[in-house]
Symmetry: C2
């Protein structure tokens, strides 16, 4: 029986593992099929993680030290995919791909969310090198420069407003002729003289070279016309998939309370409505989607797990 | 008129300043009378801040890089003491010591809390060098070694349980003959064979040398007997002062909702019940009192401030 099963190995899961083991829990496993680190390993530069400020250091550099720290206190890493988490009496059953199952006294779910791809040419090639899905993280790299946004929902327009404070011009490319965003958001966007809406259009191609993205080609899907937008950063906001499938029962219902978007409902202590089950990072409601916030969630959840296990021993 | 006034310059205030300015706010001031960094600058070693893991680095080393980053994006630092924050119509008035006042569209209060001192000999001398007020931070440095705790409330006994998982023996020194902690907590403490309760006693002295604390002398206040406890770490849990005085009106009432302990009530977005007023770090309810959590609060509050100001411009 594990003291705690941590599902997911991004900043939230890693910090949960660090705090749980450094706090004296002996039998803690982090389940992560890939390399620990999460989305951040794809970033070419980081300058907003508090205390970490070395010019030119990439997300991967950053993660090397972090990984060493994560496993220093006895956290175990299982490179296995978790299929499902279920509560069985007082404890939990974690079912792995292939059918193996493991019991745990507590579970921290930190499987995050995955920004959807728009599937244009060059999107994968320049991801993290000029193509971004996080304005808060990468907007400042385009201070007083033009940027292009792909998307027409609330997030796309909210991020356009955020970027309009930093960048010289913000071009919002949307494939429809109208925006789905909330009317007050759209109103504020219309008032900004440096936000330009380009409707009925898609990104045809992101192009560049060894140094990263150089520009994008925008295609009007009604006229077929292609416009070149050189020297721009590109932000893609076409939605997120919340990685909550491990919290689904065999019959498709969630084992804990989630909101309409499938994000796990937690309180300030990262408790879900199921005793012993905690959520941390981008999978939870109102997640700011920042590394430091995910890490904080992981620490908070692990401290709660330690207290939870104390209460039962 | 400031875009945002940040009150306090610990990890929460610094991160709020970093995120607010990097997010494009032009006129952001952090009010901190002392050196930015907060309590953490008093730590002799840090190993639980995610991503920061260099043996022997002190809290002060850590803060040097962090300070550079904090002010890199245009945050201003006013080395002045804030007396009071008041809402006046749509905006806030921040009154400084001496009577000067400054207007701000939004305020992030990040003044933290201060662990109370017990006032025994050697307490200040060895603070951060063997005398600690944070089990989560410093417990691991005493893995399989004995530690002494001073205090008899809930926190003292909860931290005793936390430390009992890590340390060989935990001696809890309490000046009364009974404990004020909640009965279930006390029950769990009684069941732990490596927690030893020493009642009717105080810490007479913490002693040591250049390398830090060596041990403590415990005095039974009924018999006057002094017991030497060599080779121990000392954790002092005699309460916290929540630094909320800036949130008090002239008549002593709080301008926002606080709980019975004077901690500011916030939601997951660090919003208080007053529009435009946010709280971050150890001043808020349910704060885990960890650097990474305070930093996360600061980032969250700053992102909310940016959206709040967008909505009003």
């Amino acid at each position: 029986m594990l003291d705690c099963a941590i599902i997911g190995g991004g900043p939230a899961g890693m910090t949960a593992g660090l705090y749980a083991t450094r706090g004296g829990l002996k039998n803690v496993v982090m389940f992560e099929l890939g390399m620990p680190g999460g989305q951040i390993t794809q970033s070419s530069e980081i300058e907003n993680y508090p205390g970490f400020f070395e010019h030119g250091k990439t997300g991967m550099d950053f993660m090397n030290t972090w990984q060493e720290q994560t496993f220093h206190f006895g956290l175990k890493h299982e490179m296995k995919k978790v299929e499902r988490v279920a509560k069985s009496g007082e404890h939990f059953v974690v079912t792995l791909e292939g059918g193996e199952s493991i019991e745990a006294m507590s579970v921290i779910v930190a499987t995050g969310s995955t920004p959807k791809r728009a599937n244009f040419k060059g999107e994968d090639e320049f991801f993290g090198k000029g193509v971004s899905t996080c304005a808060t993280c990468d907007g400042f790299f385009y201070k007083n420069k033009p940027v292009t946004i792909l998307g027409g929902g609330d997030t796309a327009l909210e991020e356009a407003l955020y970027l309009s404070n930093i960048c010289s011009d913000v071009y919002v490319v949307h494939r429809r002729d109208a925006f789905r965003a909330a009317p007050p958001t759209l109103e504020r966007v219309m008032k900004k003289t440096n936000i330009h809406l380009i409707t009925d259009s898609i990104i045809e191609e992101a192009y560049g070279g060894m140094m990263g993205l150089d520009g994008v080609k925008i295609k009007n899907i009604k006229t077929g016309e292609i416009t070149d937008m050189p020297n721009t950063g590109l932000f893609v906001f076409v939605g997120h998939d919340v990685n909550n499938s491990v919290l689904k029962d065999a019959d498709g219902t969630f084992i804990c309370a989630v909101n309409d978007w499938g994000q796990v409902i937690v309180d300030l202590s990262m408790k879900t409505n199921v005793e012993g089950l905690f959520a941390a990072g981008d999978i939870r409601i109102e997640a700011p989607k920042q590394v430091v916030c995910a890490a904080s969630d992981g620490a908070t959840a692990a401290l709660q797990v330690i207290a939870y296990i104390q209460e039962r021993s």
